[in-house]
C-alpha cells in the first residue's frame, strides 16, 4: 500500500450550518458543526434520530447546499461561501440507507456502472474488473443475479463494491446496515473491515448502533440532538486489525459505557421533544 492511498480523503468541516424550510418554518438541522476527518480514517457519526447527521452527509456528498461554513476535501474546497453546494461526484460515493442498487440491472452491471458512466473503462473492461472485485469480496457466483433476488446483506456488499470500484477518496455510508438483523450485521462488519484493510479508504459512517460504531471506528463522534454539532469525540484505542473477539474485551465495554452515556443524554432530549427521524 503506497503512501498516496493513505493520504487521500481528509475531510474538513468548518462551522457548517444547514437550515431547512418546510412549510415556511425554519428548522436548523446543523448548527456550526466543525469536524476534521483524517485521511484513511474510519469516522463513525452517532446521534439520536433526526438530529441532522444525514444532513451533514448530504452536504458532503453535494446533495444539497449548506447555509454557512465550508467543507474541504484534501484541502480543496467542496462548498463554502462562494459555492453553497458541493459537486456530486465519484470521489465521494454514498451508500444509501435503504440501498440504491438499480433493480433492473444485474449485480455485475450495477458495479460496472460507475467506470462506464465516467468513461474510463469500456463496458467489457468494466464488467471484467467488476467480476474480479466481486470475487475478492467473496461475492463470486452472484454476478448475474438481480438485486431483488438476493438477500439484503448481499445487496449491501454489492453496493459497497459498486462504490469502491470508482476509487473514491471518501466512502459515505448512511446507516447502511440499519435494516439488517444482528447476525447479518456482524458478518458485514467483518467484511467491511477486510475491505478497509485492503484499500485504506476514508470512511464516514453514520449509525445508531453504538456497538457497530465502536467496533468499526477509529473515532466515534457523538452528535447533539437537533441541531447537531459534535458533543464528544471518543478515540477508540483498540488496535486494528480487529475481529469480533474485540466485542467482549474489557476495553470495549468501558468505551461502550462512556459512549452510551453521552448518547443517551442526547437521545432523551430528542425523545422528549418527540422529533421525527430524518
Amino acid at each position: 500500500m503506497s503512501a498516496d492511498q493513505v493520504s487521500r480523503g481528509a475531510l474538513s468541516l468548518d462551522n457548517v450550518v444547514k437550515i431547512y424550510d418546510p412549510d415556511g418554518a425554519s428548522v436548523m438541522a446543523v448548527d456550526h458543526c466543525s469536524l476534521q476527518v483524517e485521511a484513511g480514517e474510519i469516522c463513525m457519526i452517532v446521534g439520536p434520530s433526526g438530529c441532522g447527521k444525514t444532513s451533514l452527509l448530504n452536504a458532503i456528498a453535494g446533495f444539497h447546499e449548506i447555509d454557512g461554513g465550508s467543507i474541504r476535501l484534501d484541502g480543496q474546497p467542496l462548498c463554502g461561501p462562494a459555492r453553497r453546494q458541493a459537486p456530486i461526484g465519484p470521489d465521494r460515493v454514498v451508500v444509501f440507507q435503504n440501498g440504491a442498487l438499480f433493480p433492473w440491472k444485474s449485480n455485475l452491471e450495477n458495479i460496472a456502472f460507475g467506470p462506464v458512466a465516467q468513461g474510463w473503462l469500456s463496458r467489457a473492461e468494466a464488467r471484467e474488473r467488476a467480476r474480479v472485485m466481486m470475487a475478492e469480496a467473496g461475492l463470486a457466483g452472484y454476478e448475474d443475479e438481480y438485486p431483488g433476488q438476493v438477500s439484503s446483506g448481499l445487496r449491501r456488499r454489492v453496493e459497497i463494491v459498486r462504490a469502491l470500484i470508482n476509487d473514491p477518496a471518501v466512502l459515505l455510508l448512511d446507516e447502511p446496515y440499519r435494516a439488517l438483523d444482528a447476525l447479518t450485521k456482524s458478518v458485514l462488519h467483518e467484511a467491511l473491515l477486510e475491505i478497509y484493510y485492503k484499500t485504506r479508504k476514508t470512511i464516514f459512517f453514520i449509525t445508531h448502533d453504538l456497538e457497530e460504531a465502536i467496533f468499526l471506528g477509529h473515532r466515534v463522534v457523538v452528535m447533539t440532538a437537533r441541531p447537531c454539532r459534535p458533543k464528544r469525540i471518543f478515540e477508540i484505542d483498540i488496535p486494528h486489525p480487529r475481529d469480533y473477539s474485540v466485542l467482549t474485551s474489557k476495553r470495549f465495554r468501558e468505551i461502550a459505557a462512556e459512549v452510551a452515556e453521552a448518547v443517551n443524554e442526547e437521545a432523551l432530549k430528542s425523545f422528549v421533544r418527540g422529533e421525527k427521524e430524518g
Binding site: 456528498a61 446533495f63 456530486i88 461526484g89 465519484p90 465521494r92 460515493v93 454514498v94 444509501f96 435503504n98 440504491a100 438499480f102 433493480p103 433492473w104 440491472k105 456502472f113 460507475g114 458512466a117 465516467q118 438481480y146 438485486p147 431483488g148 433476488q149 459498486r162 462504490a163 470508482n166
Partner: protein
C-alpha cells in the same frame, strides 16, 4: 347407477376442475363456475321461465347462444360468419393504430413531463386544460376537422389513450425513489445517462400500469366513437343491432367486446412482464409473483 359407480367419474371431474383451477390460478374454481352459473341462471329465469314483464324485451339466453354458435344465424352474425370477424378485426385494427400512436407519443411526452421542469412548466398547463374535456365531446369537432370516416374514430381513441399514458408515465417518473438518481450521480453519470439508464427503467413498471389503463380507456373511446359514427366495428355492431332490433346480436357483440378487451389488456400485461423480468423475479422472491 349406484352411488359407488358414480364416484370414479366424480373424482375425475374434481381432478379436472382442480387442475384447471391451478392453470387459471383460481383457488376455488367451482365457486367461480357457480358465480357464472348464477348469472346465466338469473338471466334464463327472468327472461324465459318467469317471463317477467320488465325483462320482456331482453333477448333470451338460449336465443343468444343459438345465434352465436349457429352456422346460419338469423341475423347474420355468428362465429361461423365472416362478417363477425370483420367487425372484430376492424375494431382491433383501429385500437392497434391508435394505441401504438398514443404509446409512442405518450411515453416520451410523459417522460419529459416528469423529468424536465422546463418542459413541464410549458406543456403541462396545456395538457391539464385539455384533459378534462371528455373524449366524446370531441366527436363533432373531430368530424368537422378530420377528413374521412376512419380518421375521426382513430383520433378519438388515440386522444383518450394518449392522455392516460402520458399522465401515468409522468406520475411514474416522479414516483421513482430519488435515491436511484442520486446514486447514479455519485457514480458520475451524465444527465442523459441518468435519464436513459435510471429514469426510463425505473418508470417502466408505472408505464405499464398506465398502458393497461390506457388500453381500457382506448376501448371505451373506440366503442363510443364507433357507436356514433363509423362503419364496421364492434361498437357499430352494437348500435346497429340495437336500432334494427336484432337483440341477440347485440348481446353477442357485447360479450365479444368483453372477451377481446380482456385479451388485449392481458397482452399488454404480458409484454410488460416480459420486459421486466427483474421485477417478476423480485416479486416472486417476495412471495407475491
Amino acid at each position: 347407477m349406484t352411488a359407488n359407480d358414480a364416484r370414479p367419474s366424480l373424482n375425475r371431474l374434481a381432478e379436472t376442475l382442480s387442475s384447471l383451477a391451478e392453470a387459471f390460478r383460481c383457488p376455488a374454481l367451482y365457486l367461480a363456475v357457480l358465480g357464472y352459473a348464477l348469472m346465466l341462471g338469473f338471466w334464463y329465469l327472468t327472461v324465459q321461465v318467469l317471463k317477467l314483464p320488465r325483462f320482456a324485451q331482453m333477448p333470451a339466453l338460449t336465443d343468444v347462444l343459438k345465434e352465436w354458435f349457429s352456422r346460419d344465424p338469423a341475423y347474420g352474425v355468428s362465429i361461423f360468419t365472416r362478417i363477425y370477424y370483420q367487425h372484430i378485426l376492424v375494431s382491433l385494427r383501429r385500437i392497434g393504430i391508435a394505441f401504438a400512436l398514443a404509446t409512442s407519443l405518450g411515453v416520451p411526452v410523459g417522460l419529459m413531463l416528469g423529468w424536465s421542469k422546463t418542459f413541464r412548466d410549458y406543456v403541462f398547463p396545456l395538457f391539464e386544460m385539455l384533459r378534462p374535456i371528455p373524449i366524446l365531446a370531441w366527436v363533432p369537432l373531430a368530424i368537422i376537422m378530420l377528413p374521412g370516416d376512419e380518421l375521426p374514430v382513430v383520433y378519438l381513441t388515440f386522444l383518450a389513450s394518449f392522455f392516460a399514458t402520458a399522465l401515468n408515465t409522468m406520475l411514474g417518473v416522479r414516483s421513482i425513489d430519488p435515491s436511484y438518481a442520486l446514486a447514479a450521480q455519485c457514480l458520475g453519470a451524465s444527465r442523459w445517462r441518468i435519464f436513459a439508464e435510471v429514469i426510463v427503467p425505473g418508470a417502466l413498471p408505472f408505464i405499464f400500469t398506465g398502458l393497461q389503463i390506457s388500453i381500457g380507456v382506448a376501448w371505451f373511446s373506440l366503442v363510443a366513437a364507433e357507436m356514433i359514427s363509423g362503419q364496421f366495428g364492434l361498437g357499430y355492431l352494437i348500435n346497429t343491432s340495437y336500432t334494427t332490433v336484432q337483440y341477440p346480436t347485440l348481446v353477442i357483440a357485447m360479450f365479444t367486446l368483453g372477451i377481446i378487451g380482456f385479451s388485449t389488456s392481458a397482452l399488454v400485461r404480458r409484454v410488460g412482464e416480459a420486459l421486466m423480468t427483474w421485477r417478476t423475479r423480485q416479486l416472486a422472491m417476495d412471495g407475491r409473483g
